[in-house]
Symmetry: C2
Subunit: 230 residues, 2 copies
Amino acid sequence: MHAYEKVRAEMLRRITSQVWPQGMTLPHEEVLADEFGVARGTMRRAMADLTERGLIERKRKAGTKVAARRAHSSTLNIPIVRVEITDSGAQYSYKLLSRVLGGPELDATGRFGRSKLLHVRSIHLADGRPYQLEDRLISLDAVPQADAQDFNEISPNEWLVEKVPYSAVRTILRAESADEMQAKHLKLGHGDPVFVIERQTQLDDLPVTLVKMTHPAASFSIATQTSQFR
Amino acid sequence: MHAYEKVRAEMLRRITSQVWPQGMTLPHEEVLADEFGVARGTMRRAMADLTERGLIERKRKAGTKVAARRAHSSTLNIPIVRVEITDSGAQYSYKLLSRVLGGPELDATGRFGRSKLLHVRSIHLADGRPYQLEDRLISLDAVPQADAQDFNEISPNEWLVEKVPYSAVRTILRAESADEMQAKHLKLGHGDPVFVIERQTQLDDLPVTLVKMTHPAASFSIATQTSQFR
DNA sequence: AAGTGGTCTAGACCACCGC
DNA sequence: CGGTGGTCTAGACCACTTG
């Protein structure tokens, strides 16, 4: 165990055991570095980790305080759907439903400006059962190569993640009841609950793709695990 | 803009523009530090950021490679429900539904061992409309003080987040259709979709609390925004 | 204005792990 | 074994922010 890990662990202990209660101002970096017998740089490394996890808050001149807990945060990981399925041990398959070149009329949200769009709908199956319905708009301004891709063999999800760089991602998670089309392709009853992930990807303010991924609620959930520095 | 930010930005540019394509092995730290005219430590700071975001992968002896994109990851932030509501500009209110001291029969999952449990059900409202149904088990082994708290004025959510330390959190997100009790308290029709967040908190292998938070799907979603280093 | 955290450097040494 | 990334130090200087 490295020095910064020992320091971090001891600081964490003092915080969770409330030896350092919420809101308390900690001694200065240098004082603590001295107490733990490490260099200031090592001390800072430990404190940087704690800052990142939201356990302490640091401000110049004001000092370092034990943070007030106001939220739980964790890392959400959404893998390529093929990987997600094969990792679970199931057989992956994919089917293209439609591929339509379109104009602004598809752009319900207006987020793509005047770009020509490719509208691709497809379905991902696990052991032959519907797993995810993928409904995607691709900006041909941002991704002209998509025009030459028929998406019969490779899904837009996988193709884009591998080929196209992005600089920002916005993700929305929500529950819905299946509309007629969703119900049909996911083999659900009309009105059954579905879990929807919507994601918009940008490359420097240029919208790249907008995707709506719909899962049957009964067989889908997302888990995150946060353990404090193991 | 600091030196490490400039270096990081330039490296990011080379990766997204595929000057450094996926899978490529980068020059050594020292060589790059030299090229960018910074100390090795500064170079490492930039590369550490890129590693953390999953853009490069580093291994001793093997070197540094541009990572293959296999997932989108982002940070999920779940605030205290009161804060969530007031931040949206709505009026927050809270009502305790039931508070039952119980034994193992409540422990459907067996995750709490033989601990005595407190079972608290409550509802959080935004502008008088049902926002979240909170159904919670609290381990009195881990949190004996909960026995003395009646939860009439303060919700278990807020009380626990503020008072009780934890070391690990497991979160599950999913969609469901409302059962009878959920529908009644959330003023939904039977079978309407709901968004469920389930969270279990531990303090060093000792289970602290297990909570199921249920939201009407129509008025709830979770958003995350990841921009690559602004 | 001054105290605090933040950045940067130059260099030594460590430890994992692929060749 | 040796090359790579990883840790640690000691010290200088910077810049934000609040009392």
